[in-house]
Symmetry: C2
Subunit: 457 residues, 2 copies
């Protein structure tokens, strides 16, 4: 550190772009439990998934290879924004008066402002290669939908997005971004699908949920042989694509001679968290470092810290395979917090499995503390964070202030997985004192869990 007293950016040369994705599964003491067919309760096979996904992605989903080559065509597109910068948070450290050294890996430089294109690009690539003509998907905060819209435009695929109603109404800019990349965007629930019509019949003003939007996108893809479905988180292959974040971060930290003591990431479906931490978990399992690895989720949607670890559907209508995961129940509709990307009832099966294995810990934080952290970060580091990573920043600040008390010079690493330029409405709510937190009570939990299906262990 001494030789770089004021350096803020830790840049990785384009030559060092990762050429392989890392699959954490074979390095684990046991594999995660397989997805089950909801009818037979038997593990799903490739044929069950083939109506939705191209075979290349299905193979990645169940692969036992530690590394999978990134196609050159995907690398070429990654080069538009990757390697992404890492920053030393000098300004924030000084404001906190902490002896901790805080580093953040910044994914907001991507075409849509988040980590999501790391997986939308390969997903679109493999689908195009398999002859698929259009991709359907859901989007909550809008980050994933715009990432897929961008990727589809590159490979000449049609893109159709079901945007959660509340987000569609509140975030017209996200819709416009998707349309600028050539996508068609529907407010979910829509009258275009059986699932959508069912929820609209219950409530014509339904503001939707991620689970419902997934149901709609899956239903449409399953009925059209030329269409595929793309998911922005949760699945193994999605988390694997995101490991380019952690691989670069490993190299960037090493280039300044640092080893992390604490790694913090926000978790919604789990892809940003997995992407950052899996390469560090590999190094930890190999005995080369021993960081604490901490997931941070919103108090309003605490799937890891309060959910149950059981088989549940990935969507609300029950169209997907059953996934063994930490879940609040597929019927659960979280409070309308501003971090739309963290409002998912479940947690990636792989992240859930790591949590059960004791390879990581988890905490939850309310959004008011998160936005206070974000405003402090913006004023000292010059980036307005997306609502999702404000959770990670709040946890970093907690840890850094603890170091201030103990005098420990801990090295803290986090992922700033997106910027908040399209989420400024949330900041307005905070700036004007209108933001509220709501505790998640035991009654809430009992009500939420009621929809988890009874599947034999």
């Amino acid at each position: 550190m001494a030789d770089l007293p004021r350096r803020h950016k830790i840049v990785l040369d384009e030559d060092r772009l990762p050429t392989r994705w890392y699959n954490v599964v074979p390095d684990l003491p046991s594999p995660p439990p397989p997805p089950l067919h909801p009818g037979t309760l038997q593990p799903v096979g490739p044929d069950d998934l083939a109506p939705l996904f191209p075979m290349a992605l299905i193979e990645q989903e169940v692969s036992s290879e530690r590394f999978i080559d990134i196609p050159v065509e995907v690398q070429d597109i990654y080069r538009l924004w990757r390697p992404t910068p890492m920053f030393r948070a000098w300004g924030l450290e000084r404001a906190l008066g902490t002896p901790a050294r805080i580093y953040y890996k910044y994914e907001g430089v991507s075409p849509v402002g988040s980590h999501k294109p790391n997986t939308s690009v390969p997903q679109a690539f493999y689908n195009a290669q398999a002859g698929v003509k259009r991709l359907t998907t859901e989007t909550g905060a809008g980050q994933w939908g715009s990432a897929l819209a961008f990727a589809c435009s590159l490979f000449g695929l049609e893109c159709e997005v079901w945007q959660v109603g509340a987000s569609y109404d509140q975030k017209p800019y996200r819709r416009i971004m998707m349309e600028t990349f050539g996508a068609r965007v529907h407010r979910s629930p829509s009258d275009l699908t059986e699932s959508g019509r069912r929820f609209l019949a219950e409530n014509p003003e339904h503001t939707g949920s991620l689970g419902i939007a997934i149901s709609e996108a899956v239903e449409v893809a399953a009925q059209d042989p030329t269409a595929g479905y793309a998911l922005g988180s949760v699945l193994n292959h999605v988390l694997m694509h995101q490991t380019v974040i952690g691989e670069e971060a490993l190299e960037q930290l090493a280039s300044v001679g640092e080893t992390p003591d604490l790694i913090v990431g926000c978790t919604g479906g789990g892809s940003n968290f997995g992407g950052l931490t899996f390469p560090f978990i590999r190094e930890t399992l190999a005995g080369r470092m021993a960081p604490v690895i901490r997931a941070v989720e919103p108090e309003a949607c605490p799937s890891l810290t309060k959910g149950t670890y059981q088989y549940d559907f990935g969507d609300t209508a029950g169209l997907t395979p059953l996934l063994k995961m930490h879940t609040l129940g597929h019927d659960f509709v979280p409070d309308p917090i501003h971090a739309g990307g963290l409002r998912y009832h479940g947690m990636a099966p792989l992240t859930s499995h790591l949590y059960e294995l004791g390879l990581m810990e988890a905490i939850s934080i309310g959004q008011t503390e998160c936005f206070a952290a974000a405003v402090q970060f913006a004023r000292t580091e010059g980036i307005i964070p997306a609502p999702e990573p404000t959770h990670a920043l709040a946890a970093c600040i907690r840890a850094a202030l603890q170091c201030k008390e103990t005098g420990e010079e801990k090295v803290i690493l986090t992922a700033l997985c997106g910027h908040g330029y399209l989420d400024l409405g949330a900041y307005d709510s905070y700036n004007t004192g209108q933001m509220v937190d709501r505790a998640f009570s035991d009654d809430d939990l009992a009500a939420a869990l009621a929809s988890v299906p009874k599947v034999p262990a």
Copy 2:
């Protein structure tokens, strides 16, 4: 080039951050005509400017030094985002099928998403150093206001912004960004100033203009001895602060063995254009290169291509010194095009002088062509541009397509001075076919020029 077949980013190491700003004035065959006091018609002296600006900036405004050291405190903050990346536009080139090589210097990585913090930070620094407690300013598109809000928060200054009414109504996200950085934002015209009340009396629904907002901010600063005024463009010192763009670009192009044949920049007040081109003009005057240097302005506000070169006020109420510049008249209110940052009646006196000296050329383009270029750029390069630099991109595409006809392998450089994440409303207008162009007729011109004061040459 052959050794970097797929490299997209040309990154400059943080060690290569410029440590000096470049002042083009002493290298010119003649100096630009001085600002005049509107009462005496004599050149204004430092004392005339002292109520608004700290002496350090006044000295920079009239300096005859070729280089001025960047204070270490300012360099430290520049490090939050500088050096900025340069990109080779491989995707756009391929889509156009052009033999031209297109490079763009990207300023959208800054804290507020544009080049504006390059000058807001030193302006806030020098004001704080001089004991100023608050800064007032105007903002059109909102880029400048948010840049000053950010800079003021770093140096503990209060920041008060008059945002052009139309922009305040249409772009709440820009206001929220300013407030997130701690600024107070007023819709202009406001009832807080004599100037504002005058325009409101004429029309209570007045949607404002940049010239009116300047009048309000200047009026408030002039009446408060603890306040200063900051301008985001037009003045010599502002353009000089922006030369960090061109200095870095020079080095980045040289690092890949390229010499530009054509440099294109959009022009509103002239600071992005000056920042990019002045260092290249120095190299041109020294005989080390001979690029064509081309300004691009909106058809709806053609100060260089249709305005007159005369002394005029910088603001609408006539509170500023008289500036010798290309102007459409200080009463001129341009059509409400989406490129709010280019809707200024005048052009920087220094840029105007260079134009008169024949060191650069200028063209104007309508906004529909600009947004068509921007959408093509977004889909191939993965960045949604701000409305202002879409003008430069449209001109780059024109030039690249000409190269396609002639087979010339020209090297084209442009500045992508900001991203369009907060301007997606403009894209919605384009995507849905509602965007219109309006030709600027001779009658329009005659009406516009009517307000240019008669000042003896």
